[in-house]
């Protein structure tokens, strides 16, 4: 793989080359997945610096466990599992500071002088609004919802990644949807 500029090399080939110590092959894998991992980490942690730390930790773990990753399967689900677990531990360490941040975001959203269903929010406001809503969810429900809705995985796949039963995951996702709906209805009349 050394010296090859083929950006579309099969994932399994890149993985095998990375196992042999080829850093370029490893970096190609990182480039392929870094945005997906970052987006998931950002939604899970609600903070850009935390998401950046998570991305670095995820790929370091991937590098350390290259021999344990099944080259015959897509790498994405494995990375999602690692991301969810790492973001959980980041969340545990910084829960207090994040709660303060969340209060500020909710204040910002609810302090709008003309809240209502017709209210138009800027992109940045929508982002903060969504982060605040997601932070209200318990960690497991948030992870299940994001994997299902944002990463577009099936309930069965989410269950496999999170190590839960399908019934549990289905219940977590529907609970998360209802809580999010109530949050959106409670604050500023919705996200439109």
């Amino acid at each position: 793989m050394q010296g090859r500029s083929d950006a579309q090399a099969p994932e399994a080939d890149l993985l095998l080359a990375a196992r042999r110590g080829d850093l370029q092959a490893f970096e190609q894998l990182v480039t392929r997945y870094e945005r997906l991992v970052f987006c998931l980490a950002l939604r899970l942690t609600g903070s850009v610096p935390d998401a950046q730390d998570a991305v670095q930790a995820v790929f370091l773990q991937m590098h350390r466990k290259l021999h344990q990753v099944d080259a015959g399967r897509p790498l994405g689900p494995w990375l999602y599992t690692v991301t969810v677990n790492l973001c959980r531990s980041i969340g545990r360490g910084q829960r207090r500071s994040r709660l303060v941040q969340m209060e500020r975001v909710v204040e910002l959203v609810t302090a709008d002088p003309a809240p209502g269903p017709e209210r138009q929010m800027s992109g940045k406001e929508q982002e903060q609004y969504l982060r605040a809503g997601l932070r209200e969810l318990p960690e497991k429900e948030r992870a299940a919802l994001l994997l299902r809705e944002v990463q577009d995985l099936s309930t069965a796949e989410v269950a496999r990644l999170l190590g839960s039963s399908e019934a549990t995951v289905r219940s977590q996702i529907s609970s998360a949807r209802l809580k999010l709906r109530k949050f959106f209805a409670r604050h500023a009349g919705g996200h439109r």
């Binding site: 970052f38 809705e149 577009d152 289905r170 529907s174 209802l178 999010l180 709906r181």
Partner: protein, 172 residues
């Protein structure tokens, strides 16, 4: 108001997770219940909005992240290379000590240290003249003039002179 008993199933229905056998009953209920129909619309709206909302990647330094990652991997590789080498060296050292011919023998007898007696070279201070008996009461005109006392030291250039206090000011 939606029916609390239906809420969970409505949330599953909006995400396409409801079991096929429950679909007909759900759709019939939504046609009949305004509150639940509104909840279903809201959930569907949230779902579409959540899926369509891209994460804000502006200002995220992916190149920097990759650079830091590479640096960390290179650093860890270096450590991984050095740890076995250091362990091998330590093991070799231990083996060398364990199998050396001196190992296990009592230590050789060493002669006791001899201590030298050093006498001080500085001669004792000897007074040149004895101090007069201190006079009590007010000084009289016939009193003896004050006596100076000189003390020589080992250094011939240094002489300590003790001058008794006088009532006269020597600078006038």
């Amino acid at each position: 108001m939606s029916c609390a008993a239906w809420e969970d199933k409505i949330a599953q229905y909006s995400g396409g997770d409801l079991a096929t056998e429950d679909l007909a009953a759900m759709e019939a209920h939504l046609r009949a219940c305004v509150g639940c129909a509104e909840l279903a619309r809201g959930l569907e709206c949230d779902r579409v909005w959540l899926q369509a909302r891209p994460a804000d990647l502006a200002g995220v330094d992916f190149d920097g992240m990759r650079r830091r990652l590479r640096g960390e991997i290179v650093r860890r590789r270096r450590i991984r290379r050095w740890v076995p080498a250091a362990a091998a060296m330590a093991a070799a050292l231990l083996l060398a000590v364990a199998f050396s011919p001196q190992h296990g023998k009592p230590p050789a007898v060493v002669a006791p240290l001899q201590t030298a007696q050093v006498r001080p070279q500085v001669p004792p201070i000897r007074p040149v003249a004895a101090l007069p008996e201190p006079s009590r009461g007010a000084p009289t005109a016939s009193a003896a003039p004050p006596v100076e006392m000189r003390i020589t030291t080992a250094d011939p250039d240094v002489i300590i002179i003790l001058v008794p206090p006088t009532t006269e000011n020597p600078y006038e």
